[in-house]
């Protein structure tokens, strides 16, 4: 019995890793397209034209081949073990965060459990913990590169990630308090209920929490407007200046994997996960409902990812002091207020309502 569970999980891991890596490749294409459109350009549209593939759909393959075939330069002056380790940390920490993310409906009664590690009670805590490990990849890369720009990039990154970790955690706690669980699937189930006919999506129950979470999530993914660790104009490329070929590609993959994780967490915590109001309920276990729910959550995640890219081509980068001001002077107090207010209301409702 247990061996079959193990094999099932291994298959799931393989499928998930395959799908996410493939998605990342295409996300890069999507990002380039959105960048081009935002700048009144067309973007990649040629790759594969001679083979009859439309919309440059094999561009990601070409990009990947380029990454793999490029010369992999390891500068003489780097601290070699750490230099080699850093990209792996970046990509592994980004990958293992997926372990508790429910890709669809979960629970023992479902035919497939859409979660690698089902019923992890501390789900969201695990995601946060693993997500903050990613900072090691960046810091080690910056430090081991033995290059001032990289080092400053790594330092900035550590300060930024550690600062934004706090509002990130605090803003989630409101949702956790309301739903009464750290388990991501339980949080989704809570959001499927209706309050006077309105779906209780997290974004409606915790609007401030959502804004704070989404903002800190940007900082966690190192993307514009918070891409200070790699700001090209100031730092030449920041922590990955000295990396080439596939090592650089791994940082790149890690960044996009983070984007996917963050989008999943946003959708699960604040947009009801697989919930489509008045259509899906936790009780439905038939296979077609499962497919529908997976489709719903995938579409929501896609929208979130596109929104993140849209933001990237809209906002300029923050200055470093503004970045710190935003975290420590605005977001942490706001998150604390949000948390205390939520806790008080939840307590009042539990005492006097039910």
């Amino acid at each position: 019995m247990t061996i079959w569970v193990l094999i099932g999980i291994l298959i799931k891991i393989l499928v998930i890793v395959g799908i996410t890596q493939g998605t990342v490749a295409y996300l890069i294409l999507v990002e380039r397209k959105i960048a081009a459109w935002a700048q009144d350009r067309i973007g990649p549209n040629r790759c594969g034209r001679t083979l009859g593939v439309p919309f440059a759909l094999i561009q990601p393959l070409a990009d990947g081949a380029k990454m793999l075939l490029k010369e992999d330069v390891i500068p003489k002056y780097v601290t070699k073990p750490l230099y080699l380790l850093a990209p792996w940390i970046a990509i592994v920490t980004a990958m293992i965060g997926f372990a508790v993310v429910p890709f669809g409906p979960t629970g023992p009664e479902q035919i497939i459990d859409f979660q690698l590690a089902p019923n992890v009670d501390i789900g969201i805590l695990y995601v946060l913990a693993v997500g903050s490990l990613a900072v090691y990849g960046v810091i080690l890369a910056g430090w081991a590169s033995n290059n001032k720009y990289s080092f400053i990039g790594g330092l900035r990154s550590s300060a930024q990630l550690i600062s934004y970790e706090i509002p990130l955690g605090l803003s989630i706690l409101g949702m956790v308090l309301i739903a009464g669980s750290l388990d991501l699937s339980k949080i989704i189930n809570w959001q499927t209920q209706k309050f006077y006919g309105i779906p209780c999506w997290g974004v409606l129950a915790q609007p401030l929490g959502f804004i704070l979470f989404f903002t800190s999530a940007f900082a966690e993914t190192n993307r514009l407007p918070f891409d200070l660790p790699e700001s090209e104009q100031e730092l030449v490329g920041g922590f990955h200046t000295e990396y080439s070929a596939m090592k650089f590609g791994m940082f790149f993959l890690g960044e996009y994997l983070h984007v996917i994780t963050v989008s999943f967490i946003t959708v699960i915590l604040f947009f009801g996960g697989w919930d489509f109001p008045y259509l899906t309920y936790p009780e439905q276990t038939a296979w077609y409902w499962t497919i529908l729910k997976v489709a719903v959550i995938t579409i929501k995640v896609m929208i979130a990812i596109i929104f993140i890219m849209w933001i990237r081509w809209t906002l300029p980068r923050f200055r470093y002091d503004q970045l710190m001001d935003l975290a420590w002077k605005s977001m942490i107090p706001l998150a604390l207020i949000n948390l205390v207010a939520t806790a008080a209301i939840v307590q009042l409702v539990r005492t006097y309502w039910s």
């Binding site: 081009a36 459109w37 009144d40 350009r41 804004i211 849209w310 933001i311 081509w313 809209t314």
Partner: protein, 194 residues
Amino acid sequence: MRLDDPKLKKIEPPRLSLADRFFLPQVAAGLLVTGKHILDVLIKDTAITVQYPEVQHVPSPVYRGVHRLNKDEEGRPKCVACMLCATACPAHCIDIVGATAPESWPDREKYPESFVIDELRCIYCGMCEEACPVEAIELTGLYDLTGLSREEMIFDKTKLLSVFDVTRDAEPMKFTTPPPAGTGPTQALESPVS
């Protein structure tokens, strides 16, 4: 200037309103702008990209591309080897060897025996064109200047004269004759370079 100088103007940064300090209205406004651009390209096809090899870019009439050596009505190079362009050239990329003009050319003393421009060193400033007293050298609208070696990019007299043959109809001599009605800038010409 002392700090209490009455002429000293102190400029305060503008005070941000509460809404400004939340950034969100500005973020929304910015999203609207970029969103409009994205949708415009997607729906109304407003992208300014020129699909280059299939669609040729048409440079503006004052574009400064590859040089040409103009010919007069008899097909002789107009150049009189006065060296003014070579002197004016800030990149020192024009190399002229002048020689006494043949007896049959009574209108001039000298003509260029060789006329070489290193198109790689040239910065396309147009000074040579400005300096020339007889409008013999001009910069054309040809921009697809490519080659497989450095030597290939050093244009000699023959090549420069051939550029004139290619671009004569599209770009009549800029100063001597007024351009005939209906002629525009260089249109997708066969490049003499490649």
